[in-house]
């Protein structure tokens, strides 16, 4: 009993010194508990009482702000083939961020190909998302973990204005930037085995993060694979299992989700969202890319070519690789525009977008 009591003391002792370290964040804390005073009018686009504390203080889970990188060869010594990495290619600058590191930091503030980006990961919802840190007003922000949750999803704060941002909404939700959208950048989630073969010149985020963390151990255990969710879900939808991984796309307020498994099985899905054509390519496990299939004003339809693990458009017979580049045929040299999407557990997607359509595999 004494031992358990000591546990409480240590826990409270760990958490207390971090309270009230940030004015707006602490104001948000008080406002979320209904104690907001008239002087502290804060702009918000979501109900404040739904932004709840996860326990740790702001930056209790430290973001990586000066990331260091190693080569694929070096990284291969510590990464298993089956481990997941978040991959990014901006202006030819190719980088991989192992999930085994992201799980302990959740945010990496980086500059890739000359673009300031934030690589974010919410383990609870299995949502990866990469944002451009340059806002519409031209300001470049740096993100940290707020220690708060909205819909059981990561809430970030920016260190410039202390505004709170929802990862799932890709939008500021409280403070100066409430209502401001973040630009999503297309990325890959891939097994290390495929990533290192596809991009052997890739830079890989190093474990030398400046923080002493037990990299290689996942504190979420079998959470990703078991069917249970232990916290309340704001909008439960039985069309899919809670932890089914989906690809979510949006066009002009219309949302549509695709089971990752369906895309992997079919290899290519030609579809429309709100009359906008889209194509989903899948050549490797876990890796899905969404493209705008319109080339020279013509919306192309594709089929999978298993011989070369490529795609052939039905209109011109041109062959396209996984990068969305025509490598053979009439359209050789043409390049499709990649579209950003959300990837995560179904319960998270449907919590943020309850009106979503679901793609039905024919």
């Amino acid at each position: 009993m004494v031992v358990v009591g000591l546990g409480i003391g240590i826990t409270i002792g760990l958490l207390l010194p971090y309270s009230n370290t940030n004015s707006l964040l602490s104001t948000s804390i008080s406002s979320s508990t209904g104690a907001l005073s008239a002087q502290e009018e804060i702009k918000s686009i979501v109900p404040l009482d739904q932004i709840v504390s996860g326990g740790p203080p702001p930056d209790g889970i430290p973001s990586i702000d000066n990331p260091k990188f190693t080569s694929v060869k070096e990284a291969d010594k510590i990464l298993e083939d089956s481990e997941l990495v978040v991959g990014l290619n901006v202006n030819g600058d190719i980088r991989a961020y192992p999930v085994q590191i992201l799980v302990w930091h959740e945010i990496v503030n980086d500059n890739v190909g000359g673009v300031p980006v934030a690589i974010t990961y919410c383990p609870l919802c299995f949502t990866n998302q990469i944002f451009n840190r340059t806002l519409q007003d031209g300001n470049v922000v740096e993100f940290g973990t707020s220690g708060k949750l909205y819909n059981s999803n990561l809430v970030m704060y920016d260190r410039n204005s202390d505004s709170l941002w929802s990862q799932g909404l890709a939008q500021g939700i409280v403070g100066k930037y409430a209502g401001v959208n973040l630009q999503r950048i297309p990325f890959d989630v891939a097994n290390w085995k495929e990533w290192k073969e596809l991009y052997p010149e890739s830079k890989v985020l190093s474990r030398d993060t400046g923080s002493n963390r037990p990299y290689g151990a996942d504190p979420y255990g079998d959470y990703y694979t078991n069917s249970e969710v232990l916290f309340p879900i704001s909008n439960q939808d039985d069309r899919l299992g809670l932890k089914e991984i989906v690809i979510g796309l949006e066009n002009n307020g219309q949302y549509k989700a695709y089971k990752l498994q369906d895309v992997e099985d079919k290899k290519i899905i030609n579809d429309e969202i709100n009359n906008k054509p889209i194509s989903l390519f899948s050549s490797f496990p876990f890796m899905v890319r969404a493209f705008d299939p319109v080339v020279d004003g013509q919306a192309l339809q594709y089929k999978y070519n298993p011989q070369n693990n490529t795609f052939v458009d039905l209109q011109t017979g041109s062959e396209w690789n996984f990068e969305g580049i025509a490598i053979n045929g009439k359209l050789k040299g043409k390049e499709l525009i990649r579209l950003p999407y959300d990837e995560g557990f179904w319960f998270e997607w449907v919590a943020f977008h309850p009106e979503t359509e679901l793609y039905n595999k024919p």
Partner: protein, 229 residues
């Protein structure tokens, strides 16, 4: 009906047994309450009822097992003391080994070592079982606390503790319950030996007899009949 049954059982128990049972039950319940209080404090994103429900769902066996194990430890310890065992009399043990009373101190010594073992098991089991509560919150308290492990234990040990936290928490529980069971067995063996000693030497006066006499007197004064133990 149940109350009447409990009252009947209670009246047939000795003062010492009842005292030990009550103490054991209280401490066992408090152990479970403290465990759940830690869960509630460290899971502020969930309503307390939801946090407790989740903890019982994930770690129900650990919570009940720890409460039972600690409760039994307290019961055996209190019962032994009620028979005349006093930890502060351990010093006399070496000088009085030739006396019959040595058995009492032997129980006491064993109870103390069992208590230390059970305490270690409780620490291990409760702390590691909390790790399975990490999925209750993205960037939640337990992710925060677990992330500090390498500063205390080093990287390699931390990885092992996290990867095998569930197995290790059950090992801790087995230690707690094991020590509790061992204490009960030793106490039982001791009671049998003492009873045999009384049969062979009815006039033998020990602290044990004294405590029984006191208990009998108390019970008679309260009109509750003979003492049984």
């Amino acid at each position: 009906m149940k109350v009447k049954l409990l009252a009947t059982i209670s009246s047939n128990l000795s003062y010492n047994t009842r005292n030990a049972l009550v103490k054991g039950a209280i401490v066992g319940i408090i152990t479970a309450i403290i465990y759940l209080a830690v869960v509630v404090i460290t899971t502020p994103n969930l309503p307390p009822s939801m946090a407790i429900g989740a903890a019982l769902k994930v770690n129900g066996i650990i919570i009940v097992g720890l409460a039972l194990g600690i409760g039994i430890q307290v019961f055996t310890s209190t019962y032994s003391k009620g028979l005349g065992c006093r930890l502060d009399e351990r010093g006399k043990y070496k000088q009085q080994q030739h006396k019959d009373i040595w058995r009492i101190f032997r129980i006491s010594r064993r109870t103390t070592s069992s208590g230390a073992g059970a305490g270690g098991g409780t620490l291990m089991s409760s702390f590691l079982s909390f790790f399975s509560l990490v999925p209750l919150g993205c960037c939640g308290s337990w992710l925060f606390i677990v992330s500090m492990l390498p500063s205390v234990f080093g990287g390699t040990v931390s990885v092992i503790l996290i990867e095998y936290s569930t197995v290790l928490s059950y090992v801790g529980l087995v230690i707690v319950v094991g020590f509790a069971g061992l204490s009960v067995l030793r106490l039982r063996k001791e009671l049998i030996e003492r009873r045999m000693l009384e049969w062979t030497n009815p006039n033998h006066e020990t602290d044990d007899n004294k405590s029984i006499n006191i208990s009998t007197l108390e019970n008679n004064l309260e009109g509750r009949g003979d003492v049984r133990y």
